[in-house]
Symmetry: C2
Subunit: 270 residues, 2 copies
């Protein structure tokens, strides 16, 4: 467990270990929290170099099967490019699991063809009411590949990507932008005014690379602050507006979001 963005509260670490012990009493899963997860340096769980080092050490350690990110926050774009440049072959055999800000790192790993990047719940979700169910979902996927943990929509056998809108917007045109041609792109958002979601979707759907996707699915857009006056359109109307203007097929909803129902989306073909 490493935290490329914000730090993890110590009780989140303890609760995650207790959950894993109760669900897998025979030691099927062993979780190691790198001490970096609990470091605090301004906004981040340690400075850039500290976060890079912790991620690189975990990814390059052949004794780990997966690198599970502790939580999102913000910080992945500051460390992803430098960290990926330091990965060795042992990093290629792993699953990398997280979402939200971690999308910037997951997409860069996907672009580099390193391991199996996966969108899904993180220990930080323990903070949500009923969050243990979300954390248990990722554990079930990591330990046994639980198919019921997967986001259920199917669009032929198109490869898939899942992103927070603000995070995808911030990596477009950067070295962290993932290959998107022919993919189903799932997008979710949290805590943004609807006018900002509208602006992010203008930006995202205007990119030539995004216009090469097979289609877009809309995850949940939650905790939207009240607009005064009301924005006038709801999330799906905004999404359909921009998909139509961009000539991108809108494929319907996706079962992802910043909530305890957030499902697993392996990047690419699962």
């Amino acid at each position: 467990m490493v935290a490329p963005g914000g730090r993890i509260a110590p009780e989140v670490g303890q609760e995650t270990l207790a959950l894993a012990a109760s669900l897998y009493p025979n030691g099927e899963v062993q979780i190691h929290f790198d001490p970096q997860c609990f470091v605090s340096q301004g906004h981040f769980a340690g400075d850039d170099e500290t976060r890079i080092n912790a991620f690189v050490a975990a990814a390059n350690d052949p004794s780990f099967d997966a690198v599970w990110f502790g939580r999102g926050g913000y910080g992945a774009v500051r460390m992803a490019e430098k960290a990926i440049a330091r990965l060795r072959p042992a990093a290629g055999g792993k699953t990398y699991l997280g979402y939200s800000d971690m999308g910037a790192l997951l997409g860069a790993l996907y672009k580099a063809g390193i391991g199996k990047p996966v969108h899904g719940p993180m220990p930080g979700d323990m903070k949500r009411e009923g969050g243990a169910a979300a954390v248990a979902r990722s554990l079930a996927y990591l330990v046994g590949g639980d198919a019921s943990a997967l986001e259920p929509s199917r669009d032929g056998d198109a490869p898939r990507l899942a992103y927070n809108m603000a995070v995808l917007s911030s990596v477009l045109g950067s070295p962290l932008e993932p290959p998107m041609g022919g993919h189903v792109l799932m997008l979710e958002e949290v805590g943004e005014y609807m006018y900002r979601t509208d602006r992010y979707l203008f930006h995202i759907t205007s990119a030539a690379s995004v216009r090469s996707v097979a289609g877009i699915r809309l995850g949940r857009v939650s905790a939207v602050p009240a607009n005064d006056p009301d924005f006038g359109l709801i999330d799906e109307e905004v999404m359909i507006h921009w998909c139509e203007r961009a000539g991108i097929p809108y494929l319907g909803r996706a079962d992802i979001g910043h909530d305890i129902e957030n499902k697993i989306v392996p990047f690419g073909r699962s």
Copy 2:
């Protein structure tokens, strides 16, 4: 006067006309507020078609010397591309003046080589304490080309651009992105958490097109909400970090921002 984003409060219109009448009592300036400025449709000063029509009518009317935008808000990206496609030769002889969200439209006009796009105060600035001074600055520039209204930094005779960071981030890679090669790019921000400013600057300085600028100047980054814990870096440290990583010369401060000191920056060579 048109409002491609949010509506103008009626008293702002009245105060602007009164200010112009007191500063130019011999009728040197005549301001026409299109009724669209005061319309309200959800978040916007009228729906997209209404805002497009008002802008196109003003721009194509040869009896106007300038199109002064009433305020920012949000909405220019929804109308800019369609509006510009409808401009006729009379639009080419005008000055277009505004900032903030209007940057999306100004940059698109600049890309299309239409008229003279200019960053500067708008009637909406009347709402600020002492805002009449800012509005008077734009009037002085529009009426007599007042040189003291201009942003004072000089970097050889490099052409210049001025943008809000969130707005520039949202147009990168879109049809509204301006040509930036060899330009001095001035960037300001308001009301954003410092981690968001950091993310916007990652995005902006990662773009190949931005990496072709002559350099970046930092305007004011104001009304930053408190980060908990403190972000750990101030605005200029963040800017220097990303400029260094991107190999972009950082040229120092620019006298622009969401405040009454906001100076005039004609796009290109003034």
